[in-house]
């Protein structure tokens, strides 16, 4: 500890001695270098971009893009894809709906009006989570699956009723079984009959465990308890009437059958839906295809978005010009300026587009996302090319239209300045082509006249006249005319010069005649 104190003391004393020894007036020379590092460039870039980030026009353009993507998403339509196959003549017209799990009837009835159909059969094919052990005739029977069939369903001559349980295999003939407070009659049937039973086309009665190729592997018939659907619901202690399979029989054919009636059901539960039309089996897929109308609406959205965005960016052009003018003083090249702004807009639009597509996918689904993606890609490419070529591509030279004007001098002899100015004022007042709007005359030895005139022939065209009168020699006056034309509309130089000549001729001619008359007098 002592050693540390000694070391600190030595360092402090050494430092103090160095300070005391150093000359009091010594000024350290510091070389300040002009910073040409990357920081200055970053600051410039930041200043340029911050100017645009604050721009309400950019925010408007982002809003336009978002709205167009939403419009495209909402107008998305898809048609259900259907796979048809010829299965040979069956003489059956029926619809099969197979859910992946037990589904309450009252819930899916909201998406498909079951009551419209007369012959509807509900099935439950349910594999139990843990085996059910039944004690039948002092023998333990393990049950792995329950099958619910409609009342009066016949299996190998046995009619399945609410008090009847059927098992494939064994030798039970009307054996009583108590399950909870209920007693049932358990009856065995030929397992082969149960295994071969079909509820619809190739759909087996027994629950399918897996598929070997295309062949379904079902739960063995002796491990399945078959009873009515309502009995299974009781055994499973379900609150609502639930089913796993629905078979709708249509005795009179399918009539004007439209697959679109299953759209809600397919989107809500993604069940397997098959339609058998005698020899044609149609399998409905829950994955649809975008329609032509949908693609057209996405392209129209893209077109609207591109047009509106282009105009929005054109409105940004004066701001771009002013920023570029400031930066060009600092030595910023036009190509780097164009690249920088294009990159900035491209990145901002890309980020917004990706975010919008994620939101649309979450809210509206995949078809809307496809539609919006088409809109986004089309309008993105269009707008980036447009702004790069037309808005941010600034020319270093700028054409400025020069107003039409004229300057000329007249030397008059033997006249007074004040009289001359008064005469010119009268000339302007009495002009048949121009209406005098404003007149300002000063006369003191020399003189000055300012007049504003409006052309009577066309509205929105006028001229400003400045006249200086100075003495020139003993008896002469020099009249310096400066006349400039203005116009609200962008008229051609030729047109303006024609109008200007009307005043010129009036002034020159009028003054010439007046001076001659003055000299003669």
């Amino acid at each position: 500890m002592m050693l540390i104190y000694v070391i600190v003391l030595i360092i402090t004393i050494t430092g103090l001695i160095k300070i005391l020894k150093s000359p009091l007036h010594e000024v350290k020379e510091e070389v300040v270098e002009f910073r040409k590092d990357i920081t200055s460039n970053i600051i410039i870039i930041y200043k340029v971009l911050s100017d645009f980030m604050k721009s309400p026009i950019l925010l408007t353009s982002l809003l336009i893009l978002s709205t167009s993507l939403l419009l495209s998403a909402i107008s998305a339509q898809s048609s259900l894809s259907v796979m048809s196959m010829d299965v040979g003549r069956t003489g059956t017209y029926a619809i099969y709906i197979g859910f992946k799990d037990l589904t309450p009837l009252d819930e899916f009835s909201q998406l498909l009006n079951i009551s419209e159909f007369r012959d509807v059969k509900f099935y439950i094919r349910y594999i139990l989570g843990s085996k059910l052990e039944l004690l039948v005739n002092d023998e333990v029977v393990s049950i792995y699956a329950l099958v619910g069939v409609p009342v009066n369903y016949t299996l190998d001559g046995v009619v399945v009723g609410d008090d009847v349980l059927v098992i494939g295999g064994g030798k039970y003939v009307n054996t009583t079984l108590r399950v909870g407070n209920n007693s049932y009659m358990i009856t065995s049937v030929n397992p082969k009959v149960v295994e071969d039973s079909r509820i619809f086309y190739e759909i087996p009665l027994l629950p399918v465990q897996a598929y070997l190729g295309t062949k379904p592997i079902t739960v063995p018939a002796d491990k399945v308890l078959i009873t009515t659907t309502s009995n299974v619901i009781k055994l499973l202690h379900l609150d609502k009437y639930s089913v796993t399979d629905v078979v709708i029989g249509l005795k009179d054919g399918l009539g004007s059958y439209d697959v679109e009636v299953f759209r809600g059901l397919l989107e809500g539960y993604r069940p397997t839906i098959m339609v058998l039309k005698d020899n044609v089996l149609e399998v409905l897929s829950s994955y649809g295809l975008p329609t032509k109308e949908s693609l057209l609406s996405s392209l129209i959205s893209a077109l609207i978005s591109s047009i509106v965005l282009s105009v929005t960016f054109i409105a940004l052009q004066p701001k771009v010009r002013s920023v570029y003018d400031r930066l060009s003083i600092l030595g910023f090249h036009s190509w780097s300026f164009t690249t920088l702004l294009t990159m900035f807009v491209a990145v901002v639009f890309l980020v917004l587009g990706v975010i919008m597509l994620v939101i649309i996918n979450h809210l509206f689904g995949i078809y809307s996302t496809i539609n919006s993606a088409i809109t986004f890609i089309t309008s993105y490419i269009t707008i980036i090319i447009f702004i790069n070529k037309k808005v941010f591509n600034l020319s270093t030279t700028e054409a400025v239209s020069v107003p039409t004007s004229t300057k000329f001098n007249l030397i008059v002899r033997g006249v007074d300045a004040c009289h001359t100015l008064e005469y010119i004022s009268n000339l302007l007042r009495s002009d048949e082509f121009f209406e005098l709007r404003d007149l300002d005359v000063k006369c003191d030895g020399g003189g000055f006249l300012h007049a504003s005139c409006r052309f009577k022939g066309v509205w929105g065209i006028g001229l400003d006249l400045d006249l200086f009168v100075t003495r020139h020699g003993e008896d002469n006056l020099e009249l310096s005319f400066n006349i400039s034309m203005w116009s609200i509309e962008e008229l051609s130089e030729k047109q303006l010069e024609s109008i200007l000549r009307l005043l010129n001729s009036k002034l020159i001619g009028g003054i010439r005649v007046w001076t001659l008359s003055q000299v003669q007098l």
Binding site: T60, T67, V308, T312, I314, K456, G460
Partner: protein, 137 residues
């Protein structure tokens, strides 16, 4: 030519040469597709928003022209009421064109909302540019 008729004629000429009026006619025509062919009730609100944006962009596209006109009117001795008449007429024309797709298949409430929003957006934008011209001229 007197001021009122001359100013009106020039305003129409300049306005017809601008981009805004053609943009809004084009976009309104394209937007007609949605209320006619897309049967989705949610599209109503989006069309109202797009209609407002269209009107806004139509004014923004010609904002420099409008400013020049305000300036020209002022130096030609136009009264504030003339300028307000120009603002209201221009915004009404833009609003009416932008309302075309809204009027098809959309309820009265949607149309009124759109009308109110479009006219207020266009009028306020034009009025702001007029204020700027008045301030600096």
């Amino acid at each position: 030519m007197d001021f009122k008729s001359g100013a009106a004629l020039t305003a129409i000429k300049i306005f017809s040469r601008g981009k805004g009026i053609y943009i809004i006619i084009t976009t309104s025509s394209l937007l007609l597709y949605y209320p006619i062919f897309v049967k989705n009730p949610r599209i109503t609100y989006l069309l109202v928003v797009i209609s407002v944006l269209n009107a806004l962009v139509a004014v923004l596209a010609d904002i420099d022209t409008h400013k020049s006109l305000f300036y020209a009117f002022r130096i030609c001795g136009a009264t504030p009421s003339t300028l307000m008449a120009y603002i209201i007429t221009t915004s009404s024309v833009i609003t009416l064109i932008s309302l075309i797709p809204i009027t098809i298949g959309i309820d009265v409430f949607g149309v009124l909302t759109s009308l109110l929003m479009n006219i207020s957006v266009t009028t306020s934008l034009l009025y702001m540019s007029y204020i700027k011209v008045r301030k600096y001229s």
